[in-house]
Symmetry: C2
Subunit: 226 residues, 2 copies
């Protein structure tokens, strides 16, 4: 499948590489596709798109945000929460209509630093904001409760015996996303319901950070035991 | 141990009964201790204090909120989040100083109905509010991420293989609470850090309700897999 990923940080690069290994074609969308030499993402795992392309091989490409959408059957939002709406507006509704968007971003209020706060929470969610802005885009919120490393390799923790959540209004889009999650190795995929349930997983940012701080540097994952 | 429980709803009654079965003395604190015949709590499990006393036996008693505090070595806040501060103010700081308070309540904004919203969230927590109001009360937030049935019987789900969180500033109080949680059957007790980490578990109300809705009527529990 042709997959477009918006955002070239750790999440975009990690997901892109893994999806290519699984046989997909991936275009990373970025603000300036000509800039291949600036390290993307933060911290020691930041790398340039030049280095990413060299590793990813012939099924990988770099384009504008709009190109990543128009060239793809499925789009992944790996942007920061704060940038998501602006970038999608720049892509244009006519290019987004009918597409499935996997929304991984969280509405972190970057202006406030630590402890992390959210710019929407129990009365709205970023997933809902995107769905409201583009009614014919099929938004599916998922994978937003974990690190990039865990998204693409659930077996990293507890032999993969833990849970990924899913929220969205469109059943066909959810089926499509569940298939992709299965390819990534996910076994326990819990459909929470419509896109308003994205509030619940976005608000898990707080417990995610608290647990990460308490267990650091151990990897961990959330499981819904039942 | 002598334990005082503030609040006579399902949580207070369920915890009280179990703690008595474990050998403790329990006084339930309530607004009007003379009213033993009004059903407490909501739904089919609501029962009167008369019925509760009959089952709980000679180690059980009913008193005012203040009596439940002054007669006890350990206090449990099983009130609604909205009522908690007012009731503790009524008890009086001089009676609370030096006591350990297990805070189970969540800051649900009852004025707004469903979907549930919180009156404090990512910038503050009810646990912190109580701790700020009574600096010499030793507030430990725990058990607030699950149903009353699960609090007292972790084995109800997944043979008890799941997690209870703990937040608080006072190490001795946390040790005391960990001992009590162990008595209740808890094996995976995760200390998140100081009382500000109560924000994280209080915000889990949203994922708790979303999962409950998705799995209803199945029981479930959260586990931090690592």
């Amino acid at each position: 499948m042709k997959i477009g990923i918006l955002g070239t940080g750790i999440v975009g690069q990690t997901l892109g590489l893994r999806l290519i290994q699984l046989g997909h074609f991936v275009m990373l969308g970025t603000r300036d596709p000509s800039n291949l030499t600036e390290p993307k993402g933060r911290g020691p795992s930041a790398r340039t798109l030049h280095s990413w392309l060299a590793e990813a091989g012939s099924k990988a490409s770099i384009g504008t945000f709009r190109e990543a959408v128009t060239h793809s059957e499925l789009v992944i939002n790996a942007l920061s929460g704060a940038a998501s709406l602006e970038v999608l507006n720049g892509v244009g509704e006519e290019h987004l209509n009918g597409k499935t968007l996997i929304d991984i971003s969280n509405p972190i209020d970057v202006s406030r630093g630590f402890p992390l706060t959210l710019f929407v929470k129990d009365t709205d969610s970023l997933g809902e904001m995107l769905q409201r802005s583009f009614p014919n885009l099929r938004v599916v919120k998922t994978l937003n409760t974990m690190t990039a490393a865990l998204m693409v390799d659930p077996k990293l923790v507890g032999s993969g015996d833990h849970t990924v959540f899913l929220s969205g209004n469109d059943i066909d889009a959810k089926v499509q996303v569940i298939k992709l999650l299965s390819e990534l190795g996910w076994q326990d995929i819990l459909d929470l319901g419509d896109i308003s349930t994205a509030r619940a997983t976005e608000m898990m940012l707080a417990i995610g950070h608290a647990v990460a701080h308490a267990l650091s540097p151990a990897e961990f994952a959330f499981k819904v035991v039942r």
